[in-house]
Amino acid sequence: MNAVTGSAAARCAPAWRAPLIVLAVGLVAWWVLPDQLGLVTRLAVTALLVLSLDLVVGIAGLATLGHAALFGAGAYAAGTFALRMHPDPLLGLAVGVGAGALLALASGAFLLRYSGFTFLMLTVAVAQIVLSLAQKGRDWTGGDDGLTGFTMAPLLGRFAFDMEGRTAALYAIAVLAAGLYLARRVVDSPFGLAVRGIHENRARMAALGTPVFARLLAMYTVAGALAGAAGALSAQTNAIVGMDSLSFALSAELLVMLILGGAGRLTGALIGALVFTLLHHTAASINPYHWLFIVGAALMVVVLLPPQKAWNWLRARMGATT
């Protein structure tokens, strides 16, 4: 018992610390990069999405290649709400959160009966089924042309979504910070600990009397809610939702970003999203034809030379000279 609380206490930094840092960094970025606020917004949305993936992959230990479905569900729900019902951003955000959570709950009830490679492939199947349905329902989703035609109302009634993206960037950063706070609280709570326990040793947790399926489903639903929030943000800041929001390629990229930054720590998700997106953006601007070389090589190098080892080597060398 002591070992468990010991490690938990060490990890239990106050939940508001990381979100506050995110807010600070976000504000600085907003201040010094007024020309690239579109990129800042995208970074915040992607970070939130990878964060939600970390809850599933890193905390609950369930590798999934279908996470885009939860994102897309939130995006299409928020977009449709803005188009057909009311263009208020915060209401739309709530709708997106609800849609993501609902899809996670419904699909999780089926998916979580399986584990390992089977679970992985079933997440692919579910995501592709959602994609096929979205393509078929082009009267609602706009099909491959995308869902367009909606303009968002000013945030909180006062801040209009401007062309430079100032409002959008601050909005996204705020929601990211809030999402991170929520995730932190969830992960550090007894519920979060139970899920991490299930990750480490499912049989033992079951023997302790933990309702494994219920816990996993709850975590999956929370992850779905955050992914839906990211989707709503994306729909609202871009004023369009495309089929790429539901694609397998997106799910795969999210997983890559998470592994890159390190799964299970929540902050790793943010770092992975940041590094990968910036790498892609910079490499693509330098050479639109060959940026994939840089990204591919970077991924391979990161695995062969884990940053931890490189860092230690660097410190050893610096230690030797001083």
């Binding site: 690239q36 990129l39 367009t148 062309m163 871009n238 004023a239 790429d244």
Partner: protein, 392 residues
């Protein structure tokens, strides 16, 4: 806190430097952002755009209206509206482009409509073919084509050629559905029947099931539309290899015999009938000049509808620069663009003042072998066609 202050002042000074730099060069250099796929399965469009656009500038002596042109190329990958919006936002706000060009996929064009509208940046569409795009912002000008534009004359010709039963087979996405709707409406208006409307998923690579369905439909001809690249190639090969021509089902297409992939079909493609606005075999001095300029830039460059879309697109931008004297004035540029009329490599064209879409000749072509290579030989000129999809 100290670290932040340093970073902040470094960034601020970098910004000031950048701002001063751009201010001093703005008067002489016009920045044109070209947005398209440079990677991924449709990457050939990026190269075609680049070749067409840069060849045009080179043919004008390296400057347009006395101004240097700086191209900024940005990759959108596939249909990726979120990413495209970020890219264009950066092009407009950070790079301060004067004009935008390119666009292959409809959702990408839709995504940037609010941006170009608010910033008043004239944007020339080199390729995307869905009619609704030019409605989304008054700053869109199109030098490509739309499905309605090329399909209506094809349907009329089919009816006149005594074809009574036709089956349509299109890819299940915006332009494909436009093509199907356009053909159906015009062909039935002319008295024919569309016996079946087959829609093929956009991710299809194996077209043989669809070709079998076409055979089984009992039609006399198949009217088809697919996106350029692998889908196009796959379908035409399947048509050839499954013996459809022999079974008496005529091929009616538009962009399928695109010069980019045409040679790959081999002799099986001879006789394929299409209605389209540009053939590299079009005989005119303007076309000769275009092809020469392309080959000068890159002997492997292909003259097709995408590179001519970029060439003519740069012509429009050229005239807009002339009209505004190199200053950034979107509304004035638009006024000039709407009045344009010229001889393009495709034939005589003009920009429709109301719809900002290019009005051009559509030709009936048959694939023939000329000098050992396959070409789209123009056998009939349907005359100037408007975008029927917008005038409804």
């Amino acid at each position: 806190m100290h670290r932040f202050a340093r970073q902040w002042s470094a960034a601020a000074s970098a910004l000031l430097l950048a701002a001063s730099f751009s201010a001093s060069t703005e008067a002489q250099t016009i920045k044109v952002g070209i947005v398209g796929p440079f990677s991924g399965p449709f990457a050939q469009y990026g190269t075609l755009f680049k070749n067409g656009a840069e060849a045009y500038v080179a043919s004008q002596g390296g400057k347009l209206a006395g101004k240097e042109i700086e191209f900024i190329y940005r990759d959108t990958g596939g249909p990726n509206p979120g990413q495209t919006k970020t890219i264009v936002q950066e092009l407009i706000v950070k790079d301060k482009v004067d004009y935008l060009g390119g666009f292959v996929f409809t959702p990408n064009a839709f995504a940037v409509a609010p941006l170009i509208q608010q910033s008043q940046t004239p944007t020339v569409i080199f390729n995307a073919a869905t009619s609704a795009i030019t409605d989304k912002s008054e700053f869109f000008i199109r030098t490509s084509y739309t499905l309605w534009q090329v399909t209506v004359p094809m349907a009329q010709w089919a009816a006149k050629s005594n074809l009574k039963k036709v089956v349509t087979a299109v890819t299940d996405y915006g332009p494909g559905i436009d093509a199907e709707t356009a053909f159906k409406s015009e062909f039935t208006k002319q008295g024919g029947t569309v016996v079946e409307s087959i829609r093929m998923p956009i991710s299809t690579t194996d077209f043989s099931p669809f070709v079998q369905r076409i055979k089984a439909s009992g039609a006399q001809a198949v009217y088809t539309f697919l996106p350029g690249g692998p889908p196009n190639l796959g379908f035409v090969k399947a048509y050839n290899e499954n013996g459809l021509a022999k079974s008496g089902i005529q091929f009616l297409g538009t962009a399928e015999t695109d010069e980019f992939d045409l040679q790959k079909f081999g002799d099986a493609a001879i006789g394929l009938t299409t209605a389209f606005h540009y053939s590299a075999a079009h005989e005119s001095p303007a076309n000769k000049k275009f092809i020469e300029a392309l080959k000068k830039r890159d002997p492997n460059a292909v003259a097709n509808y995408a590179s001519v879309g970029a060439w003519d697109g740069m012509f429009v931008i050229h005239k807009m620069i002339e009209a505004t004297g190199g200053q950034r004035d979107g509304l004035k540029a638009l006024v000039a663009a709407r009045a344009l009329q010229w001889e393009s490599p495709r034939g005589p064209v003009r920009i429709d003042a109301k719809t900002r879409h290019i009005v051009q000749n559509v030709y009936l072509r048959k694939v023939e072998k000329v000098g050992g290579a396959l070409v789209n030989k123009e056998v009939q000129n349907f005359g100037p066609q408007i975008d029927y999809g917008l005038d409804k």
